[in-house]
Symmetry: C2
Subunit: 230 residues, 2 copies
Amino acid sequence: MSKGRKFGVLGTGPVGQTVAAKLAELGHSVFVGTRDPAVTLARTSPDTFGNPPFSVWREKHPAIELGTLAQAAAHGEILVNATSGSGSIEALKAAGEGHLGDKILIDIANPLDFSKGMPPSLSVCNTDSLGEQLQRAFPSLKVVKTLNTMNAYLMVGPAQLVGGEHTAFVSGNDAAAKATVTEVLKSFGWKDILDLGDISTSRGTEMILPIWVRIWGATKTPMFQFKVVR
Amino acid sequence: MSKGRKFGVLGTGPVGQTVAAKLAELGHSVFVGTRDPAVTLARTSPDTFGNPPFSVWREKHPAIELGTLAQAAAHGEILVNATSGSGSIEALKAAGEGHLGDKILIDIANPLDFSKGMPPSLSVCNTDSLGEQLQRAFPSLKVVKTLNTMNAYLMVGPAQLVGGEHTAFVSGNDAAAKATVTEVLKSFGWKDILDLGDISTSRGTEMILPIWVRIWGATKTPMFQFKVVR
C-alpha cells in the first residue's frame, strides 16, 4: 500500500491507539475520532485495564489528529472501527452516514459482553455477528472484518511472534475492499492472510473470543495467536 | 498409556469408527456401542456424507466388539462420546448411569445444529456448552472435552499434518482424568496439548466450529487444524 493514504480511526482506547500509531508510522495521514475529544483529553488517570490516559499517548504522536467521530470519518478514505463492540453501532451513527458513505470500514471490534462477569461472553453470536450488524445498519459501507482474534500489538506487529507465522482472517462482501485491506495487512507484516468469505463469516472469527480468553488464562500471556496449519 | 485398556466407544459413525480403530490398533480392548446394533449392521448404503455402511468397516476390524450403548459403557474403563451432539444426552441415558459411574468420558462431540441449513450453527454456545450439559446430567462422570476442533483422521493421526505441529485442547474438572486423557492423546501422536481449565472451557473449543466450517470452505480441504502459536 502506498504512503499518504487518509485513515480515520474510530475509538481512542488501546486498540485504536496502537493501530493509529502504526498507520502514522507507515506514512499515512491519520485522524482519530472519539465521542467527546475534550473529555478524552481531560482524563488524567489510567483506564480500567491500567493503560495510561489518552493524553499521554497523544503527546508521543503529535502528527495524529484528534477530533469527533464525525471528523475522523470525514477525514478517512479508509476507516477503522476500534470502538468497543457494545458501542460500535452508536459510534458509527455518531460518525454520520454521510461521512461513512461507501468507504471501507476495517472492523476489528468484538461484541464482548462483560455484564455477566469474567470471562466475557458475546452479546451476539452463532446466527449473527457484529460484522453483519454493522453491514446491515450501513448497507453502503464496505465492512471488512479482520484482526479481531488477537491483541493490538500482534494486529500491527505479527512478526513479534514466531516471525509472523500465524493467520489473519478476512471477512467481507466486497472483493475490492478485501483486496485493499489485504494490502494494509501486508504493510503491517502479515504473510498468512485467509479470506473466509462474505461478512457472515465474521461469526466464526468473533466466536474465537471465548477460547481466546481461556488460552490467555492457561498460558498467562496475551501474546499468542492462531495459525491455521494446512 | 499401557496396552490392553478397555475402551467403550459410543457411536458408530465415521468419528466413532476412526477412534475405535486407532484404539484397537494401539492394543486396547474396544467395544463399540450403538442404539440398535441390528439396525446399524443391516445398513447397506452409504450414509448422507457418502461414507460406506458400518458393516463394511466392521469386516475390516473383527477384533472390535459391537453391541448396545449399555454394553459398550459397561465394557469400557474409559468411554468415548462419538455420538452426534444433538443425541449425546439421550445416548448416555441409554448407556445407563450405572454403567457410566465415575468413569472418564472423552467427549469429542460438537452440538451442531443442521436444522437451519448449511453451514451448521450450534444448538448451545456462549453461556453453556455440550461438555457442561453432559457433566451436569451425569455429575459422577469425569467428562473431558478434547479433539472436537478437527476431523477424525487428525484426531487419531496428528502427524499427518506438518508433523503434528498443531494443538489439542483439553477441558475438564478432574485433574487425574485429564492426565489420563493426555496419555491417550500422546499415544495418538499429540505433542502440543493445552489444558484450558475446567469443563466450562468447552464453550471455547465448541465455538471453534463456525470458523472451522468456513475455513473448510475457503481452503477446500478438511485436513487443517489450529496451532496456538506462542
